[in-house]
């Protein structure tokens, strides 16, 4: 099993996760990457993604696991010849088994520009629409950390089974500032798997599994 770490930025960050799945099957076909397939009436390629990224959010830390006998270097090269630069792979990892990133990831880092000098995140509440109803939620327990340097704000948010969408934080901050902060300014910079009481960067995790 090989894992590609890739970016999703510029125009490509507006492609939804569902559409990305379709794109990846085409990318692998035109790159002529011999992917293994499942059995059954409707066989599908054995490829596995990390958690879906909200539409409009950029990332430099997305992961795609591919079940293939090809070596990592060749996969990396062929993949990059078959994708726009806005979806380029930046690293490959070789794993003994499917790392099940979607199930293991618990947190992700996001950065964005903000005119705020300081943001008090204790008791931070967001308001959003869900199934036609307005929901007000205290999300402070899903914010694991934050830094603010030179107007560049970094947040570590829950991701995976329990997650907090960064666009909702941004929308709330926009309301406080009475301005519309652009979603495309947010970038996911790292993802983490949970460890005893802490976080391990997915890159490190992939090196040891």
């Amino acid at each position: 099993m090989l894992v590609l770490k890739y970016v999703k930025r510029a125009d490509s960050c507006f492609i939804s996760h569902i559409d990305l799945l379709r794109h990846v099957s085409r990318i692998l076909r035109r790159a002529d990457i011999p992917v293994k397939f499942s059995q059954g009436f409707n066989p599908h390629a054995l490829v596995f993604f990390s958690s879906p990224l909200a539409v409009g959010v950029a990332s430099i830390a997305e992961y795609l696991a591919v079940d293939t006998d090809m070596n990592g270097g060749e996969l990396f090269e062929r993949y990059n010849l078959a994708v726009p630069v806005t979806l380029a792979a930046i690293e490959t990892f070789e794993c003994g088994k499917n790392p099940n990133l979607q199930g293991k990831i618990t947190a992700a880092d996001y950065v964005f520009d903000t005119p705020f000098r300081q943001i008090d995140l204790s008791g931070f509440q967001i308001e959003y629409e869900k199934k036609g109803k307005t929901v007000i939620e205290d999300v402070s327990d899903k914010i694991y950390g934050s830094t603010n340097a030179d107007g560049r704000f970094a947040l570590r948010l829950a991701s995976g089974n329990t997650s907090l969408r960064p666009d909702r934080i941004l929308s709330e901050l926009g309301k406080r500032l009475r301005t519309n902060l652009a979603l495309s300014d947010i970038c996911k910079t790292a993802q983490y798997v949970g460890t005893d009481g802490g976080f391990e960067d997915v890159d490190e995790y992939l090196k040891r599994v």
């Binding site: 510029a10 125009d11 490509s12 507006f14 492609i15 939804s16 569902i18 559409d19 379709r22 794109h23 099957s25 085409r26 990318i27 692998l28 076909r29 035109r30 790159a31 002529d32 397939f37 066989p43 539409v55 409009g56 078959a82 994708v83 726009p84 806005t86 666009d167 519309n180 652009a182 979603l183 495309s184």
Partner: protein, 588 residues
């Protein structure tokens, strides 16, 4: 990239399916090359519809492959995005370089359906471009139209500077060259239009004189005609999200209601080897998981078996599903279907009885329906059948024949298989007398009569288990017929309908029947004036187009229809329609 990119990104987060508007698709050509002129292809429907259009993909590829020109794209935006554009005071932009439409040398609208006319105005409105050609000075792009609706361009002729009647592969480039040279010389728009007038297929409404003919543009060397071997891969799921391989142009069947069957004559086939090469290249370059063989009657392609011999093993190896739509029952080969996934088969008998099928020259016999037993034997449990209601000379007996076909198929199915039960999906369109067909003079059934026929068929089908019935709306069918045979005055009706809120008329939930009836009334017209029977002596609005097929031939076919006599398939011998004068027919 210009300054609109950032502004666009800011609004994309708030709209549905933002990937419709940002471009960047795989296989996008080089947009930075030096050019003499640029053109933006405007498709008056949503991205996912427009990206499925083979014509747009072909012409986009033709222009971008030329060293002197660049083509970009723009699709009609959904209401939420249009609202955002207005709020942020942004014009409609091209997908590739986010350039305002009004800054292009040429805008080329592809109009494939009468119910898209208001969307042309919707796009021009968002682009800040006046609707009427007469209102646009030299500072605006030259507006070009083409596509299947150019069979009768009169309803939208006032909006455009040039309309390409026929196939655009050569005509578009020729026109673009003249425009580029004219702009370089500092020629005015009217001077450029004078030069364009001589191009084959080019109709210049403002300079057209009574009695002049426009000869339909035809690609004569279809074998080597350009084809998008590197098709754009849509950002979001398109309605036809696959590699589309065009096997041939034209159709040998001669169904008397079918506009495409007459318009795309002469019939020109591409060799199986060339088709296979194109198909493989599309898969290698785009990575699609499905390939469809596309032409008006794929099953009649003369080298189909050879093509299958090449493509079936290739597609199996690449895990590509080979889809075969638009089959005639008479050409159904179980061998062919055996290699496809056993999901559903689609056939179009069009009429319920042999008598009516003879009238319309749909050469499918009851005995041939029995061919479908083979399909049931190899595992098909689901079948889609297309019919038409309101055909000339149709009686209730013909409508009842549709239900009889369903019963007959169920009987065949149970002779072969007994497991799941057969699902039959019956889909009924309404007959629309289209220009350039033997039925172009026919009256369309009245609105009330259409509803009665639909209800009658529904009551018959309800009694058969496993049959679902869907039908085309009577209102949209009346409007489509009125616009299809419309004249120059209708540009005012289309504008009025747009002002009254009509757009995306092809979408049931957005169709505004009241706006259209009022628009016709406000212009002192009714739709019935256009759906009535035409006298054979009447000068028809589209008579000035020389499609190759003579009016005498169309009249002869109409008479044969009334006598319930069929005309043989062109592959069995030439019927002398006249299209040969525009190019060699490769089957007769």
């Amino acid at each position: 990239m210009n300054g609109y990119n950032d502004k666009l990104y800011k609004i994309l987060a708030d709209v549905e399916k933002p990937a419709r508007y940002c471009g960047g698709e795989w296989n996008t050509p080089d947009m930075t090359k030096p050019r003499k002129a640029d053109m933006c292809f405007c498709f008056p429907e949503l991205y996912e519809i427009g990206m499925s259009n083979l014509g747009v993909q072909i012409l986009y590829d033709v222009i971008n492959s030329d060293k002197d020109f660049v083509a970009e794209r723009c699709f009609a935006p959904a209401a939420d995005f249009a609202q955002k554009l207005k709020e942020d005071n942004l014009p409609l932009l091209s997908l590739e370089t986010k350039k305002p439409l009004k800054d292009f040398t040429v805008l080329g609208f592809s109009i494939g359906f009468e119910l898209l006319y208001t969307n042309v105005l919707y796009m021009l409105d968002l682009a800040g471009i006046p609707f009427y050609a007469a209102e646009r000075g030299d500072e605006y792009p030259i507006l070009l139209a083409g596509g299947p609706c150019a069979v009768n361009p009169e309803p939208f002729a006032d909006f455009f500077d040039i309309i390409v009647c026929g196939e655009g592969e050569e005509a578009d480039l020729n026109i673009l060259r003249i425009i580029a040279d004219g702009r370089a010389d500092g020629a005015s728009k009217s001077e450029i239009l004078k030069r364009v007038k001589g191009v084959e297929g080019a109709y210049v409404p403002s300079l057209h004189k009574d009695g002049e003919k426009v000869v339909k543009a035809v690609i004569r060397d279809f074998e080597n005609a350009p084809y998008p071997e590197k098709p754009l891969v849509p950002n979001i799921e398109a309605v036809h999200d696959r590699a589309t391989l065009e096997l041939y142009r034209g159709c040998a069947s001669g169904c008397r209601f079918c506009q495409a069957g007459f318009w795309y004559r002469p019939i020109r086939e591409r060799s199986a080897d060339r088709c296979a090469e194109l198909g493989k290249n599309m898969i290698e370059n785009a990575g699609f998981g499905e390939m469809s063989l596309c032409s008006l009657s794929t099953g009649d392609y003369s080298e189909l078996e050879r093509l299958e011999d090449i493509l079936i093993p290739y597609c199996e190896r690449k895990r590509v599903n080979l889809a075969l739509p638009s089959l005639r029952i008479s050409s159904f080969k179980s061998d062919m279907a055996r290699h496809s996934r056993k999901s559903s088969l689609t056939f179009a008998p069009e009429a319920g009885t042999q008598r009516l099928r003879n009238v319309i020259n749909k050469n499918v016999t009851d005995a041939e329906l029995d061919n479908l037993a083979e399909a049931f034997e190899i595992g098909y449990d689901s079948i889609k059948l297309y019919f038409m209601l309101g055909l000339p000379t149709e009686t209730d007996e013909d409508i009842a024949g549709i239900a009889e076909i369903c019963k007959r198929l169920k009987g065949l199915y149970y002779l072969k298989r007994h497991k799941r039960g057969l699902n039959i999906s019956v889909s009924c369109a309404v007959f629309i007398p289209k220009p350039c067909t033997p039925f172009q003079w026919e009256e369309q059934a009245s609105f009330e009569e259409m509803l009665r026929k639909q209800n009658y068929l529904r009551s018959l089908l309800r009694e058969i288990k496993g049959v679902s019935f869907s039908w085309h709306g009577a209102e949209t069918s009346v409007l489509e017929a009125a616009l299809a045979r419309g004249d120059r005055i209708q540009s005012k009706v289309i504008e009025r309908a747009y002002r009254l809120g009509a757009k995306f008329d092809a979408w049931t939930e957005q169709f505004k029947w009241d706006a259209w009836t009022q628009a016709f009334a406000d212009c002192g017209l009714t739709m019935q004036e256009y759906t009535r029977e035409r006298s054979v002596d009447e000068i028809l609005p589209w008579d000035f187009i020389d499609t190759g097929v003579s009016k005498t031939y169309l009249l002869k076919e109409r008479e044969l229809g009334y006598k319930e006599k069929t005309t043989k398939n062109c592959r069995e011998g030439c019927n002398g329609c006249g299209a040969l004068k525009l190019g060699r027919c490769t089957v007769c």
